[in-house]
Structure formats: structure tokens, C-alpha cells
């Protein structure tokens, strides 16, 4: 049998994803106001983060509604061995879905501390990235922290 011939290649492409008005203004809210905005859409209620349309029926989005930076965890995934150049930090952390107070959908984000206390139902609060580090990204919320 022939000796297998193999070769490693790392593909690295940069992308710039245009955000459009709704995603762009939501991110500007994080960056410039440290406030979290949702959008009221048909069939889904107040959607956070908003995309500009209802994901259940495709109709166009409606009014802006501010939601609280606090909320309740609806799902938890604890990552003990983070993957370099993919995951947001090198130490163990958890991915969570958080239904913010005032929102009808949940936001996917991370919790870095108090992982042992984290459960479905735990209350958490947004931790903002420092002013200089906020670039207009979902990671302008640095993480969520446990508050109960």
C-alpha cells in the first residue's frame, strides 16, 4: 500500500460583513450607549438581538424597545477546554442563552465566573467591555455575570 501523502494548510480569509441599519444600530447602542435594544416584531414579541424582521413570518420589524441588562439563563453549556482562535477566552467558561428582562427571545453569550453556580434559571447581568475596547460588536458586552 502507498504511504499516505498528506499536507496541512491553514486557510485565513478576512471578511467584512455589512450590518445594515437594524443590526448596525443595535451594535451602535452597545458601543456608544451601553444600552441593549430590542425590536418588536410580529409573532415573536421583543426580539433581542434584533435582525430587522420577524424570523417566524418574515414580516418587517417594528419599533425599538430598550430591554434591561439583566435576565434569566435558559440554557447553559460549560466549556472546560476552550478552542484557541475560536472561543472567546482561554479559561473555562460557559455559553449561555439569556432572556433579558423585557425581551421575548434569548441572546447567546458567555459567562466567565461562578460557573458552578450557573443553572437554567440563574439570573445574570451584562458586564460591559471598557469604553476603549467597544468596537460595535456583540462582544462589546464582555460577558454576563451571575447576580443571584
Amino acid at each position: 500500500m502507498t504511504e499516505p501523502l498528506e499536507q496541512r494548510v491553514v486557510t485565513e480569509f478576512p471578511y467584512k460583513h455589512s450590518t445594515g441599519e437594524v443590526i448596525g444600530r443595535f451594535l451602535a447602542g452597545l458601543k456608544d450607549q451601553k444600552r441593549i435594544w430590542g425590536q418588536r416584531v410580529a409573532g415573536q414579541g421583543v426580539v433581542v438581538p434584533p435582525v430587522g424582521y420577524s424570523e417566524t413570518d418574515g414580516s418587517a420589524g417594528g419599533e425599538w424597545v430598550e430591554v434591561k441588562p439583566t435576565g434569566v439563563v435558559t440554557a447553559v453549556a460549560r466549556v472546560y477546554r476552550p478552542i484557541a482562535q475560536l472561543h472567546p477566552c482561554a479559561e473555562p467558561f460557559a455559553f449561555v442563552l439569556v432572556k433579558l428582562d423585557g425581551a421575548d427571545t434569548a441572546l447567546a453569550h458567555v459567562v466567565r465566573d461562578d460557573l458552578e453556580r450557573l443553572r437554567v434559571g440563574t439570573r445574570v447581568e451584562a458586564v460591559w467591555a471598557p469604553d476603549a475596547d467597544r468596537t460595535g460588536s456583540i462582544r462589546d458586552i464582555a460577558c454576563f455575570r451571575v447576580i443571584t
Binding site: 502507498t2 494548510v9 491553514v10 486557510t11 485565513e12 441599519e21 448596525g24 451602535a28 450607549q33 482562535q85
Partner: protein
């Protein structure tokens, strides 16, 4: 005073750097083809039904749908069936412009390969021109496509158009 809306001026875009490691498999056909280049040999795979030869070797003939399990050597010379003269650079390819990218039907093969034709002015390249492989010197060949540096004219008479139009 608390705004009732997010800022009017949106963030324009989200940047992303894709980082994807891959570890590619050449497959045994390609591995044997590349290894043979080290010995200045070009291998093709022979259709078990029709005897037609495919270079580089492939697993089966798309024409007969029979396996091509025998590897056979073909000549390191053949006919430029068609070509273009490349005048613009391609990222990651350091070939001096302009250069000739040609389809070359090697003697003994039933499909053409892509090849660089050099050692003559690009304007001098013709459909039907006979060319031969120029190999890297002994000891420098690695078993890679680069073992063939390029093809060059042999000076033999051109093949008539009708003799290769079916194998561009």
C-alpha cells in the same frame, strides 16, 4: 436624558477573520503520480475497459465508468492543444508575466494537462506546437508538480489542427 432609540448612526460592519486548519489527503493515485515525478516519470491511469489513459491518474473513466486501476507511464512531451497568455498576476503565484498557460496533450495520454510553456516568446507559441518537459535537475526533485519546471518547444513540426481538436 434617555434616548428612546439606539443611535441613528449604525455600526457599518462586523469584521471576521476566518481561521481554518485543514489537513489534506492527496489520495494514493495522486501520491504515486507525484512520487514518480521524482524519477522524471509522468504516470497516467489506464481504463480497464477502453485502455484510454488519464493524466494525472483518476480512479475511474467518466466515459466508460470502469475503474482505472493500472498506472502506466506516458511521454514527457506532447502537443500544445490550446493556450492563453496571462498578463495579470494571481495571488500566491510568483511567475514572471507574461506567461503561457497551455493545455498539453502528452503522447500516450487521452486527456490534456495544464502546463507552462517557456523558453520562447509568448507570441511564438502556437496551437499544435510540440513541447517537452523541462525537469528540475537530479537531486532537486521533491515529488511535486514543481519537479516539471515548465515545458519548452522541441522544434519538431507542428501537429495539424485536425489531429488534436478533439482533445483540447
Amino acid at each position: 436624558m434617555s434616548a428612546s432609540e439606539p443611535p441613528k448612526e449604525p455600526v457599518k460592519y462586523v469584521e471576521k477573520q476566518v481561521h481554518l486548519p485543514y489537513c489534506y489527503v492527496a489520495g494514493d493515485y495522486k501520491a504515486r503520480y507525484l512520487a514518480a515525478l521524482k524519477d522524471k516519470t509522468i504516470l497516467g491511469s489506464k481504463c480497464s475497459r477502453t485502455g484510454k489513459v488519464f493524466v494525472p491518474p483518476i480512479v475511474a473513466s467518466p466515459e466508460s465508468f470502469a475503474p482505472c486501476d493500472e498506472l502506466v507511464p506516458v511521454a514527457d512531451r506532447g502537443i500544445v492543444t490550446t493556450f492563453c497568455i496571462v498578463n495579470i498576476p494571481v495571488i500566491g503565484r510568483a511567475i514572471e508575466l507574461p506567461y503561457v498557460a497551455a493545455s498539453v496533450a502528452l503522447d500516450g495520454a487521452d486527456i490534456s494537462i495544464y502546463a507552462l510553456v517557456q523558453e520562447c516568446a509568448p507570441e511564438a507559441v502556437r496551437m499544435g506546437m510540440r513541447v517537452e518537459a523541462v525537469w528540475k535537475p537530479d537531486g532537486e526533485r521533491q515529488g511535486s508538480h514543481e519537479d516539471i519546471v515548465h515545458f519548452r518547444p522541441t522544434g519538431e513540426p507542428d501537429a495539424p489542427l485536425a489531429s488534436f481538436m478533439h482533445r483540447l
